[in-house]
Amino acid sequence: MTPIVEARSISRVFPMPAGPVTALRDVSLSIAAGDYLGVVGPSGCGKSTLLHVLGCVDVPTSGTLLFHDRDVGSLADTERSRLRLREIGFVFQRFFLLPMLTAAENVELPQAEAGAPRAERRRRTMALLEYVGLAARADHRPSELSGGEMQRVAIARALANRPRLLLADEPTGELDQGTGEQIATLLDRLHADGTAVVVVTHDPAIAGRARRLLRMRDGRIVDEAPR
């Protein structure tokens, strides 16, 4: 299957006052449509850095990242923004919903940025909120939602422009076990509906749902196992 994103020997080195820190070392990886990838490993092993590089919000210090065979390193900032807007969905541990917008407005924002007509984006926003089970909370602002509800809104926002790839960084990290289960089930549904999902997690229960599991240590992939 044609990969959506392909990393070829990528490394990421952060210059620090005390000396450079290598977060990724010679990582090669391919993610295709229909993949469900879990990334696990101890804190500081480079999981989030890998996710950021795959999501085109960071660029590797060396190596090549191809997104639909296009070299991301050669893209201008605006082109990378466009790529993220249309092809990639992000879900973060701390939700990062805009506090001044309602749940519906948060979901509508990326669609508006992509130029979707108002009526269409309203319709899709309601469909997405319905999908994550929050249609009744469409007009609520983040401060009026629980952690699990905020994360579901964040997932709806990530799906707003029908991305091929969803990247989730510790999506259940701030949630209790029961709510975490709901989010994990939602990610399963997304995968089943055809979206490629990459989940960085410390939670074995979440990792256990992935079809492929990557173990990382010291910036390297030390084990990759289909499940």
Partner: protein, 396 residues
């Protein structure tokens, strides 16, 4: 959702923060607006007073200010000569004398303005009649004197000249013909105007033909400059100034202090306004770095996120700037009243005068302030490393 709408929602859905910013800008903007009104207020008001007198050229004996230097000799002949010039429409001789009148047990000092009763007066009648055609004993008096001495048209009044060596000339009896406004009167001035000859008779100088100044009205088709040039050509020994010259002279000297003060204070208030908004926006941006990084991560361009900050700054400054106008106007009225109560200031001279130009400059300065205030938070947003910020926010 456009950057403008996102900025609007940010402003209206964080009312406490927005109100704080808007009120801060309104306070600063009100002071700025007042400084703009003050910077040219005196000049505009002074010009208005000069124009209100109805004459645009003044002829004096030397380059000192009128009433401070020597008098014009052979004033009647000079006035006739000037009146005969084609550029001149009217001439008025003015001679000021010090006088006093009895008020109970006190002597009240009066400024007597002597002028040709047949020429256009320099004052405006507000009650009764002017002195024209009523003989040497007719007077017009200002409101302050009328109220203080309870005089009205038809009242009698006795004046004694205060004439230095001629002190002791007998008092002269006058009849109040009317009540008038004198453009340069202070709030407590006691001013009367009568015939030019009466000004001389107050000190027993019945044959003296002098004047402190001649005021001249140019013909509209010639203009003040042409009239002044014609007078200079006709009489090189006199000093001729137009109203424009006087305004420029005062602008360079007496009024320049107010202009300099207003420039300094306007600069300081603008600086504080920029700081206030910059701090508010910077704090807001720093509080929401995670959300801003997320906006970038989900695909909003740098330009789009930056324009949201600029719009937000523009909205806060714009709303504050609009609110500043009524606030500044009320403040200027209050400050004007305080400054005009200073001794020796003409009652109709204003320090704060509105002109459309001030409004335009106010808007331009605030627009610049909005951009300057947004500069630092915009820099933070523009240079925000998305991945590093997301990582930092996740562990903080």
């Amino acid at each position: 959702m456009r950057a403008l709408r996102l900025a609007w929602l940010t402003v209206v859905r964080q009312p406490a923060r927005s109100c704080l910013g808007i009120l801060g800008v309104a306070a600063v903007g009100a002071l700025l607006f007042d400084m703009l009104l003050l910077s040219r207020g005196l000049i505009l008001s002074f010009r208005d007073l000069l124009d209100r007198a109805g004459f645009d050229v003044r002829v004096v004996a030397s380059d000192t200010l009128p009433f401070n230097g020597p008098r014009l000799e052979d004033a009647t002949a000079l006035a006739r000569l000037i009146a005969s010039l084609p550029e001149v429409e009217a001439v008025q001789q003015v001679r000021v004398a010090d006088a006093e009148t009895a008020s109970g047990d006190f002597r009240r000092r009066i400024e007597f303005v002597g002028a040709d009763p047949q020429a256009r007066p320099m004052w405006t009648i507000v009650a009764g009649q002017d002195i024209a055609g009523r003989g040497e004993a007719a007077l017009v008096i200002n409101r302050h004197l009328a109220q203080t001495l309870r005089l009205s048209p038809g009242s009698s009044m006795s004046l004694t000249g205060r004439c230095g060596e001629a002190q002791g000339a007998p008092p002269l009896a006058f009849t109040v013909a009317g009540i008038a406004e004198f453009p340069f009167d202070t709030a407590t001035a006691d001013t009367v105007a009568g015939a030019l000859s009466a000004a001389g008779r107050l000190c027993g100088r019945t044959t003296e033909d002098t004047a402190d100044l001649l005021v001249v009205r140019s013909r509209p088709d010639a203009g003040a400059d042409a009239a002044a040039a014609a007078i200079r050509r006709a009489r090189r020994d006199v000093h001729v100034v137009t109203s424009d010259d006087l305004v420029q002279q005062f602008n360079r000297t007496q009024f320049s202090y107010f202009r300099q003060i207003s420039v300094v204070l306007a600069t300081v208030t603008l600086f504080f306004g920029v700081l206030l908004i910059a701090v508010l926006l910077t704090v807001s941006v720093n509080q929401h770095l995670g959300e801003i990084a997320t906006l970038r991560a989900i695909g909003l361009t740098r330009r789009r996120v930056v324009s949201g900050i600029v719009w937000e700054s523009a909205m806060l400054v714009g709303a504050g700037g609009i609110l500043a106008l009524p606030l500044g106007t009320a403040l200027s009225v209050w400050l004007d009243r305080i400054l005009r109560s200073m001794p020796g200031v003409p009652a109709d001279l204003h320090f704060f005068v509105f002109e459309p130009r001030a409004l335009v400059i106010h808007a331009l300065l605030l627009a610049m302030a909005a951009i300057a205030a947004a500069a630092y938070p915009v820099r933070i947003v523009a240079a925000l490393p998305i991945a590093a910020t997301l990582r930092r926010e996740a562990v903080s």
